[in-house]
């Protein structure tokens, strides 16, 4: 392997080159851009707004649950709120967030490409997302919809609320998801720089690639099932209606055929981020590159074989309960492989504690806890007690908030210098990350206990003996929200006042740090050599 002499260009070296943020500043140059980095920023704005919205709905839910009976709203409003919260968080924030923001920004750079394979499709994906979000929100806020994010029939097809337009809105959001996934798969296959073999790809790329496969293979099935629900709701075609010979359980099968793989759409990108963060701050190659890379594919494929574990008490056959139960145990192993490898990577590293790494520790604890409780609910006899209780709510928030949201925050801090060319305040970062973790812990740990004690989910009112745990949870949620607001605050300040970041402030070896911060329009002023691996920390840095 040769030691390349390519120097990462800097502004100082060539002031004529403008970065992507300043390549045209008109509104038009943003709204009609085909630059994946600008599209990424537009997605960042849109998904952050969704997160804010979903968070507000979550806080309203928490406030209502402060007292056993009515606190601030009636039951119908409550039911609409948790539906809004679930749908906004899942379909408008978590599924698109990391792929469309960080995947979009980094994937082409990490493979040494000028852009994604289909830039116009990329832009279209953004507008389709916006359209889907607009339809969904309009329908839910104007008409109201109260079927929960799971759309279970026959409640969803008979509920006197705007189920059909919401289903349509989510269908459109799904189209956007497919477009992005398709684009990334083709990009990864066709646009890798010369010399950049699969095994020299940053681990981030592997994980996003695995996510994209799920997006293309699973999302159409969700689309079809929601379309059927929408049509059924609008015209009473009754394909799942027992009065017309339909079988409601078939809807559940179709829904989970998508939605279990979808939970891996939500966590694989988080794992992508974590793999990069660990290696950079441990200053060392991953303990086993292949273990992390291949287990992403393992999750993507085996994840399709476990959907029935959501239906243990639905009246599904015993045969399916057994099969889906054991397959769930197998899919968990791939996550365990990753966890063990990350921890082993820290060993004998040269570790620098920064905000992203603090988020990594939070992720590690919360993801393992959440994942292990996933294994717990996959144990069929235990799920008889836990199904549809707050234990399940805690399980998935541990992974989706404790895991993915945490990783999203790690990513935001880790790539902030690359995306905006400035550093955030490490001190505020530490304060905020600890606040977020503490808030999280007190929000959701009590929910495990509530579930154990038997409190069902989607309960507007509850027996008074559950109250103090609920109050604790609401208190935790307030701390969590404060931490998030703090984050928004100091990041906004950093955007304008932050210290200028160099091309490679973290001393990483991965390819995105070979270009300037922020990168120029076509990512590299001249095509860098990618002879080296992305984790060659034993070689001197290229500056």
């Amino acid at each position: 392997m040769t030691t390349s002499s390519v120097q990462p260009p800097s502004h100082a070296a060539n002031p004529a080159i403008r970065d992507y943020l300043h390549e045209g500043t008109s509104i038009r140059s943003w709204l009609l851009t085909r630059d994946h980095k600008r599209i990424s920023l537009m997605f960042l704005v849109a998904t952050s707004l969704s997160l804010l919205l979903g968070g507000i709905f979550a806080l309203l839910v928490r406030v209502e649950l402060l007292t056993p009976e009515r606190t601030i709203m009636d039951a119908v409003t409550y039911n609409r709120l948790f539906t809004l919260h679930g749908i906004v968080m899942v379909f408008m924030f978590m599924i698109p967030a990391i792929p469309t923001v960080f995947g979009n920004f980094l994937l082409p750079i990490m493979i040494g490409a000028k852009d994604v394979a289909f830039p116009r499709l990329n832009l279209a994906s953004f507008y389709v997302y916006a359209l889907g979000a607009a339809i969904t929100l309009t329908a839910m806020i104007a008409g109201g919809a109260d079927m929960g994010w799971t759309f279970y029939t026959p409640y969803s097809t008979t509920s006197p609320s705007a189920v059909a337009p919401v289903g349509l809105g989510v269908f459109v959001l799904g189209l956007s998801s497919i477009m992005t996934g398709l684009n990334f798969i083709v990009t990864t296959h066709t646009l890798r720089a010369r010399n950049l073999t699969w095994h020299k790809l940053p681990l981030f790329v592997w994980s996003i690639y695995a996510t994209s496969i799920i997006q293309v293979l699973a999302t159409p099935v969700l689309g079809m099932s929601l379309l059927l629900v929408a049509v059924d709701h609008a015209w009473g075609l009754g394909i799942f209606d027992p009065r017309l010979g339909g079988d409601p359980l078939l809807f559940q099968h179709l829904f989970w055929f998508y939605s279990h793989p979808a939970v891996y759409i939500m966590v694989l990108p988080a794992m992508a981020v974590i793999s990069e963060v660990v290696c950079t701050f441990a200053h060392r190659a991953p303990a086993s590159y292949r273990a992390i890379a291949y287990s992403s594919l393992g999750i993507a494929f085996v994840g399709f074989l476990t959907w029935g574990h959501h239906m243990f008490v639905s009246g599904m056959s015993l045969l399916d309960t057994g099969i889906f139960g054991v397959l769930s145990m197998f899919v968990a192993i791939f996550s365990a492989i990753k966890v063990v490898t990350w921890v082993a990577t820290l060993r004998r590293g040269s570790i620098r504690l920064t905000t992203p790494l603090i988020y990594f520790f939070a992720f590690l604890f919360l993801f393992v806890f959440g994942g292990m409780t996933g294994v717990a609910v996959a144990t069929s006899s235990l799920d008889l007690h836990w199904h549809d209780t707050y234990f399940v709510v805690a399980h998935f928030h541990f992974i989706m908030v404790g895991g993915t949201l945490t990783a999203y925050l790690a990513a935001l801090h880790y790539w902030f210098p690359k995306m905006f060319g400035r550093m955030y305040s490490e001190r505020w970062g530490t304060v905020a990350s600890i606040t977020v973790f503490t808030g999280f812990f007190f929000t959701f740990m009590p929910q495990f206990l509530l579930g154990n004690a038997g409190m069902p989910r989607r309960y507007y009112s509850y027996p008074p003996e559950y109250q103090w745990l609920n109050v604790l949870s609401t208190a935790g949620a307030s701390v969590l929200a404060a931490g998030m607001l703090l984050t928004v605050g100091y990041l906004a300040v950093a955007l304008f006042r932050g210290e200028r970041a160099g091309a490679n402030p973290w001393d990483s070896r991965s390819y995105e740090w070979l270009t300037t911060s922020p990168p120029p329009q076509h990512n590299f002023e001249e095509q860098p050599s990618m002879d080296r691996g992305p984790y060659d920390f034993h070689l001197p840095r290229l500056v």
Binding site: F369, L384, A453, Y462
Partner: protein
């Protein structure tokens, strides 16, 4: 130890012996979860301290770690295989418990449970019924046969660690055997609309003498006279009093079931109901099936799905015609004929006794906006 852990984990009291068994697995899984995540996080943090970067200057090349991977694959493999063994072990134990929890003993007391928005109704073999309170005898296996009149609900007794969805148009079942007299809360665990959270009930476990006495004081199940024929007894009763089975006879007559089925073993157009329950019946396609509640319900709703060998597939569906409570009464009638012995005076039953003007029912148009009301 059991009691300590149970309280620490906020679990409700263990109302059945199976609940205790499930809780042991629960402890093992939850404690491993806590220990596992703590160990993983602690190890990572210890590494972060132990291997922290000593010099504040970044990227001192001398300090850079050596080349490529140094993970001991032996260790990783052992850890992963160990975890897999643990997980599969939990699956084995859990699935065996699951099968136990789903398979009621044959002599269990059977109670029909009908869910609707937003109330539970329980119908006992005696014909009595209660709303929102389920009375059961202590130390006796009780089997619940569930169905729903509108949307999916879920019957959940935290103290028994059991839960089962009630699905419209289908019949599901669950069972338990309460150890001690007492009162245990019941929740609806499947989201079913506005008042989902108040669709609660209680299981009242009584000593068996008290149970019998309590039942006597309950009113009979109120079956709506769905099609205007009234619910007067049209057939000579085969059991005494106003039992649920007897109500079932009324239903059978009213809906014309008895024009094809007999209650005493006499061959007719359709299979006789005598000695049918829990027998193995041969089907048209060469397979055979146990005539349990779900088969019986299915045969009313989708008669063409499992056709008895030797009978023509002529029965129409009763989906939307029979109310969920009526289905329960019919099933109870068939159950009561399980050990039917030839009675001395067997009168030919149908069609003489039944009104012959009932048209063959067909699926009526669904009432799309009012799921609460499924009877035409």
């Amino acid at each position: 130890m059991n009691e300590l852990l149970r309280r620490l984990l906020f679990l409700p009291p263990q109302g059945t012996s199976l609940a205790r068994e499930v809780d042991y697995l629960h402890y093992s899984v939850v404690l491993s979860t806590m220990a596992g995540s703590a160990v993983v996080a602690a190890t990572a943090m210890w590494f972060a301290v132990r291997y922290r970067r000593r010099s504040p200057t970044t990227a001192g090349e001398s300090e850079v770690a050596e080349a490529a991977p140094r993970l001991s694959y032996g260790f990783e493999l052992a850890a992963i295989l160990g975890l897999l063994a643990l997980f599969v072990g939990w699956w084995v134990v859990g699935f065996r418990q699951f099968v136990k929890l789903e398979t009621p003993p044959l002599d269990a007391l059977t109670i029909q449970v009908v869910a609707k928005q937003w109330m539970w109704t329980f119908a006992y073999p005696s014909g009595a019924a209660s709303n929102a309170v389920l009375y059961v005898p202590a130390s006796r296996a009780v089997k619940l046969v569930l169905t729903s009149r509108d949307v999916i609900h879920s019957f959940y007794v935290p103290a028994f660690r059991i839960k089962q969805d009630a699905v419209p148009g289908q019949s599901t079942s669950i069972w338990f055997e309460a150890e001690q007299p007492g009162t245990y809360p019941v929740y609806c665990a499947e989201y079913c609309g506005t008042d989902h959270s108040t669709m609660r009930a209680q299981v009242v476990v009584l000593p068996s003498e008290d149970f019998a006495r309590r039942l006597e004081r309950l009113p009979p199940l109120d079956i709506p006279a769905a099609d205007g024929f009234g619910s007067g007894p049209l057939v000579r009763s085969r059991s005494d009093g106003t039992s649920l089975a007897r109500l079932g006879e009324g239903v059978a007559a009213r809906h014309g079931c008895l024009r094809c089925h007999t209650l005493d073993g006499t061959p007719h157009v359709g299979p006789t109901w005598a000695r049918l329950y829990q027998s193995d019946v041969a089907l048209e396609d060469g397979t055979s099936v146990r005539a349990d509640e779900s088969y019986l319900t299915e045969s009313m709703m989708d008669p063409r799905v499992k056709v008895r060998r030797g009978f023509a597939a002529v029965m129409p569906t009763y989906q939307g015609v029979l109310d969920a409570a009526e289905v329960g009464a019919l099933v109870e009638l068939i159950r009561s004929l399980r050990d039917f012995r030839e009675a001395p005076s067997t009168t030919p039953l149908a069609p003489a006794g039944a009104p012959s003007v009932i048209p063959l029912p067909r699926s009526p148009l669904p009432q799309l906006r009012s799921p609460g009301d499924s009877s035409p």
